[in-house]
């Protein structure tokens, strides 16, 4: 089953529910790359607060999504990594380097707004 993507203005919001399979995550990567172009989105927020495990595959795929969407002109912010999940990721050796993260959806949206504001100022 495809992971649903919600469009809110120029932002795409994805809330990953339960435990996605590898195929669902890979499809999400393709779907986001496509929709960022179709909707001319500037930001993507991926809420992972429902995830009970973030293993090396999920983490690598999220990094892949962040890089792909960036090349398509949109910033990705991963929000909602749970405390236990963050602890396990650290021990596993996953850093999520070069991926922006925020505490929750609200913080993520604020972060995106600041990034867009910065981009707009630079253009003026």
């Amino acid at each position: 089953m495809a992971i649903p993507i919600l469009k809110q203005g120029d932002t795409l919001i994805v809330s990953i529910q339960a435990a996605p399979t590898d195929q669902e995550l890979l499809r999400l990567q393709d779907d986001l790359a496509d929709q960022v172009g179709r909707f001319r989105s500037r930001g993507v927020i991926i809420d992972v607060s429902a995830l009970d495990v973030m293993d090396s595959f999920a983490s690598r795929t999220l990094r892949g999504i962040a890089r792909t969407t960036k090349l398509r002109g949109a910033e990705t912010i991963v929000v909602g990594i749970q405390p236990d999940v963050a602890f396990a990721m650290t021990q596993l050796g996953l850093t999520m380097q070069d991926v922006m993260t925020a505490l929750d959806l609200e913080e993520g949206l604020q972060m995106l707004a600041r990034i867009k504001e910065g981009t707009r100022r630079r253009r003026e």
């Binding site: 495990v53 090396s56 983490s59 690598r60």
Partner: protein
């Protein structure tokens, strides 16, 4: 209350089943909080290794007790190609696949005890244990 579960691993969706069942058994064994996530993550990594490198195998999770300590043991076994150089496979960032190379060394860090037995052409058995604190 079961004390032993076996999960056949032959497709990617079995990885999720294995870590969910492993988490349940770990909770029954007295683990709580971040330990449950840590155990589920380690199971996810060794299960993915089976799917990626050996195609099929199984994960067995058992409640264990030893001189007053209790914990769980996870055994991931397959009859795949085997790991030619275990020391290299346990090095961070080393992968013959397309992964981050964190699976085995990461799982080792997550658990208290970790052993790999492997013979070329015959398969691999990863045994890991974690004790309640």
């Amino acid at each position: 209350m079961s004390s032993d579960i076996q999960i056949p691993i032959d497709r990617e969706s079995d990885i999720v089943t294995a870590r969910q069942k492993g988490r349940e058994l770990a909770a029954e064994a007295g683990f709580a909080g971040s330990d449950l996530t840590v155990i589920a993550t380690a199971i996810s990594e060794v299960a993915r290794n089976i799917v990626t490198y050996a195609v099929r195998g199984e994960i067995r999770v058992t409640r264990i007790q030893l001189s007053g300590k209790s914990g769980i043991q996870v055994v991931a076994s397959d009859h795949g190609p085997g790991i030619p150089d275990i020391a290299l496979a346990l090095r961070d960032g080393y992968s013959t696949g397309k992964s981050l190379g964190l699976g085995l060394p990461g799982a080792k860090r997550l658990m208290d005890e970790f052993e790999i037995a492997s013979k070329a052409g015959q398969g691999t058995t990863v045994t890991m244990r974690k004790w309640t604190r």
